[in-house]
Symmetry: C2
Subunit: 195 residues, 2 copies
């Protein structure tokens, strides 16, 4: 029983790791079942003994990438005082991560979650992730009465919308034309929101 479970989790891990590797390097469009299976060291048919379809496999990666992104963001936060200042730092690091890995960006913001079972769950993981990263700092702002609770809710929503909008426009519509201008744009929007 226990052994079986361990072996199954290990096998799933091989396929998930292979998928993550391809997503990070080549991106979503280069991903294929045969591709993944070869990197995992198994036949493409074996994959279907552990995942109902490739979409399930792909969205298992979301959980891992969330943690990877969280670690990336936290590594850029040392010495930054909690509150408004750190929210800005979190947002910048968060966006930097997705700019660095366009495949993960596409997975998080572009790819349609057609699966009915886990669609809402996965969407929630993605949509509330930034808010989760900033949770402590919003709490600090609330405690220090920097913003009202209603304000905070509005600002959280604005951050989610603006990061999504800027990332999509920059990554897929080349607007603005370079990364520096993109960061300037983020900072300008943050000035407005956090004032």
């Amino acid at each position: 029983m226990d052994k079986k479970e361990l072996q199954e989790q290990r096998m799933k891990g091989y396929f998930i790791d292979a998928t993550k590797e391809i997503l990070k390097s080549e991106g979503l469009k280069s991903l294929s079942v045969r591709n993944i299976a070869e990197k995992a060291g198994y036949s493409f048919a074996t994959l279907y003994n552990y995942f109902p379809d490739v979409k399930h496999l792909v969205f298992y990666c979301v959980r891992d990438f969330r943690e990877e992104c969280r670690a990336y963001v936290q590594s850029r936060l040392e010495g930054v005082t909690k509150g408004k200042k750190r929210i800005r730092a979190i947002v910048l690091a968060y966006m930097e991560y997705f700019v660095q890995y366009p495949g993960i960006f596409e997975l998080f913001f572009i790819e349609k979650l057609s699966d009915i079972d886990h669609q809402k769950e996965t969407a929630g993981l993605i949509v509330h992730f930034l808010q989760e990263l900033c949770e402590e700092d919003w709490a600090v702002c609330a405690a220090k009465k920097v913003y009202t609770d209603v304000d905070i809710q509005l600002k959280q929503s604005q951050l989610s919308i603006i990061t999504t909008g800027i990332l999509v426009l920059y990554m897929h519509r080349n607007t603005p034309g370079n990364y520096k201008a993109c960061i300037s744009l983020v900072n300008a929007q943050m000035d407005q929101i956090l004032n």
Copy 2:
């Protein structure tokens, strides 16, 4: 010479019209070369005598949908006074159009423009479209000194970012959960921007 050109444009039109029809009804994922060609009344191979590949064909549709969207927006503008009020009406109608046609939304905001030749051109058509729709009203605001020129530039940028962000989150991440809440969100954001 002239006749050849006319015939060629007609043929292109058949394929473009077929593509538009599928995009509006079925969406991007249901689009295929054989699909398009059948609706156009020709073999799939014939398509390649008029377009280098299917991506070129698809992005010819952007021009047509822009005009269709423009007409849709303008039909919802009768009696609305120019300026701030009409900017809000334009944004709402603009977003309504894309919510109505998810396939066109995907084409405008999601699909990667990989083609090197027309990539920048098509991206520009999409990115500056909303600004173009509001141009007259921003001019009115500028003339009436409602906003400074610098403010207007910032607000235009904000509108582009926020409409993109909200549409992506609503259409692909089911956030917020229903259309009414989505419109409320847009209005709240517009309150902030246009104050």
